[in-house]
């Protein structure tokens, strides 16, 4: 089974974000990055499927500037077999249709049995690239998948619905699945894995120029910190212990909790 895993590099979850001067995006300069959380689970699922079904190949594909190499190298160290890096410096404002188009051009000749990716990115949060990519590749898809059974000819996937409900879907293969975070424990890269990764192929490809330059269907005109919907009383003024003491008092006198 050949599985392609699409992985995105995003701003670190704990990064303090600042808005750029033109108020059109965040200040990227001093930002630290990490792999998009659900994409990490997509990779883990691909590795497990390969192990379970006796081999095949796991190919990682990532779109972005040279810094995304760290995501790719980490994926190779965890056990992916090779990688495709679609090199593009300016992808922050790329809409999901354009991103899917670029990715589809990069992977269509691979003829994968499965394409996996995370259910949404932690930066733009469109939650669309995977589904649009499935449409462009002519593949059936399922989103928010938390279990994959590939033992038969087709696929059975368990999808998360809202409010604690679930549903199994039987579907044909090849297919594209978007994976929910937390469906398994992600393995660590071993020293052996890290050494082995150095010999693995990372193919650099240029993004399809037409797909990249097509007019965006949506354009960000301004970014800003959300307006507060509540007047928050901040307690302690930086002193956490003082804040805690004040809070206990407020909970008794104002909120009347006890």
């Amino acid at each position: 089974m050949k599985i392609i895993v699409l992985m995105k590099q995003v701003a670190n979850k704990d990064a303090i974000l600042r808005i750029n001067k033109s108020e059109t995006w965040i200040e990227e300069g001093d930002l630290s990055h990490e792999v998009n959380e659900s994409d990490g689970y997509a990779l883990e699922e691909a590795l497990r499927l390969k192990e379970k079904h006796g081999g095949g190949e796991v190919v990682v594909c990532s779109l972005g500037p040279q810094r995304v190499k760290s995501v790719i190298k980490d994926a190779l160290a965890r056990g992916a077999d090779r990688a495709i890096h679609v090199v593009s410096d300016d992808t922050a404002q790329l809409g999901p249709y354009a991103a899917a188009k670029v990715l589809s051009e990069a992977i269509k000749d691979e003829q994968a049995d499965l394409v996996l990716t995370g259910l949404q990115s932690d930066d733009n949060g469109y939650a669309q690239t995977g589904v649009i990519l499935a449409e462009l590749l002519g593949l059936p898809h399922a989103t928010i998948v938390i279990e994959v059974d590939a033992s038969g000819e087709g696929l059975r996937v368990k999808r998360e619905l809202e409010s604690g409900w679930y549903q199994w879907y039987a579907m044909t293969r090849p297919a594209l699945l978007t994976i929910q975070s937390g469906i398994s424990q992600i393995r660590y890269a071993t020293l052996k894995g890290i050494m082995a990764a150095k010999k693995k192929e990372i193919k650099e490809v240029a993004p399809n120029a037409e797909a990249l330059s097509a007019a965006a269907h949506q354009r960000i005109t301004k970014v800003y910190f959300p307006q507060k919907t509540k007047q928050t009383q901040f307690l302690g003024d930086g002193d956490a212990k003082a804040g805690a003491a004040q809070l206990a008092e407020k909970l008794r006198t104002e909120a009347r909790i006890f």
């Binding site: 979850k13 303090i16 974000l17 965040i26 999901p96 899917a100 930066d123 733009n124 949060g125 469109y126 939650a127 669309q128 589904v131 649009i132 462009l136 059936p140 898809h141 399922a142 989103t143 928010i144 998360e160 809202e162 409010s163 604690g164 409900w165 549903q167 879907y169 039987a170 579907m171 044909t172 975070s181 937390g182 965006a216 269907h217 949506q218 354009r219 005109t221 970014v223 800003y224 959300p226 307006q227 509540k230 928050t232 009383q233 901040f234 307690l235 930086g238 002193d239 956490a240 212990k241 804040g243 805690a244 003491a245 809070l247 206990a248 008092e249 008794r252 909120a255 909790i257 006890f258």
Partner: protein, 326 residues
């Protein structure tokens, strides 16, 4: 020439989702600002369901019908909606940002060579132009977005962005129009939806909830929060990453994929406040947030906030409450 606003009303097995009527409210407000008629579209096998939506103040309700639409599938819904949108030629297609819409609507938009303006929290109209606002970076930042190119514009609205009870009802029922459509090959077969286990804990009945997030750092620290919960007679709960890690069972998860709660007191410890968490707890009467990051979105909805280390806050808070309780 494209005209009007088409709103997608979602149902599962005939039960309409509340967010569908929130989308109706969003579409009506947009329609009023733009001076454009609003129609609803319902997918199914016959027109019986459409009449449930016809009570709202709408130009008409279009019942898009095919036997393959009895159960939801992304292939079936994308095919049917593509034909409905082409036939009705609207300027805007408005949908609730539910798991079902997330599953098929990007495919629908792709048939028109575009993407969705997804998960919007607001829309405003100025000089006839619409600006959509959406949350990015897990709720930390808002982005104003405008649509480019030819209509239709596809937009989805976050649960709770508009209120279902603000959806205006009409004097008389809106006309229901049947639109039989062709549906091509459906490559997936759904089985019956189910609930994993009977929820052992019903957090919806708790008056006080102490919720922990990534900031708790390790399973061994949960006892600290548990002490506080015991002292206040409350329940312990968590954001998704904590349950994903197996530190607390999934029936203690708050948010879109877990439980939705409205306790008198909700204390969020080390929870940044991603949208998926906020939808599950934002209607609590009193919300307390403790987080190291002063920009954490949880503070946007908190009544009381402490910017600091929860490991300093919890012991002092527990002691002080003990003292005050006497």
């Amino acid at each position: 020439m494209p005209n009007g606003i088409l709103v997608f009303a979602e149902h599962r097995g005939g039960a309409f989702n509340k967010t569908s009527f929130e989308a109706v409210a969003a579409a009506q407000q947009l329609g009023a600002s733009l001076g454009q008629p609003v129609s609803a579209v319902v997918l199914g096998t016959d027109a019986a369901l459409a009449s449930q939506v016809a009570a709202y103040k709408l130009d008409k309700v279009v019942s898009v019908e095919h036997p393959k639409l009895a159960d939801y599938t992304p292939d079936g819904y994308a095919d049917a909606m593509e034909r409905a949108v082409r036939a009705l030629d609207p300027q805007f297609v408005i949908m609730p940002h539910t798991y079902l819409v997330r599953d098929y609507a990007p495919k629908l938009a792709a048939r028109f060579g575009k993407d969705l303006i997804s998960d919007c929290v607001r829309a405003s109209v100025s000089d006839g132009a619409v600006t959509f606002s959406r949350r990015i970076f897990q709720g930390k930042i808002d982005a104003d977005v405008v649509a480019n190119g030819e209509p239709p514009v596809f937009a989805t609205f976050q649960s709770g962005a508009y209120r279902a009870d603000q959806a205006e009802r009409g004097g008389e029922a809106a006309a229901v129009e049947s639109l039989p459509v062709e549906v091509g090959e459906v490559r997936m077969q759904p089985e019956e939806p189910f609930q994993e286990v009977k929820q052992a804990v019903d957090l919806t009945k708790a008056d006080t909830i102490i919720a922990i997030g990534r900031g708790i750092k390790g399973q061994e620290h949960i006892a600290l929060a548990q002490q506080l919960a015991d002292l206040l007679g409350g329940e312990i709960a968590a954001s998704r990453p904590i349950c994903d890690a197996g530190w607390l069972p999934i029936d203690r998860q708050i948010g879109s994929s877990g439980q939705t709660v409205t306790p008198k007191l909700y204390i969020a410890l080390g929870i940044s406040g991603a949208i998926q968490h906020l939808v599950g707890m934002k209607n609590a009467s009193t919300i307390v947030a403790v987080n190291k990051d002063p920009e954490a979105p949880i503070f946007d909805i908190a009544d009381y906030g402490i910017v600091g280390d929860l490991f300093e806050v919890i012991p002092v808070l527990t002691e002080e409450i003990k003292k005050l309780k006497g």
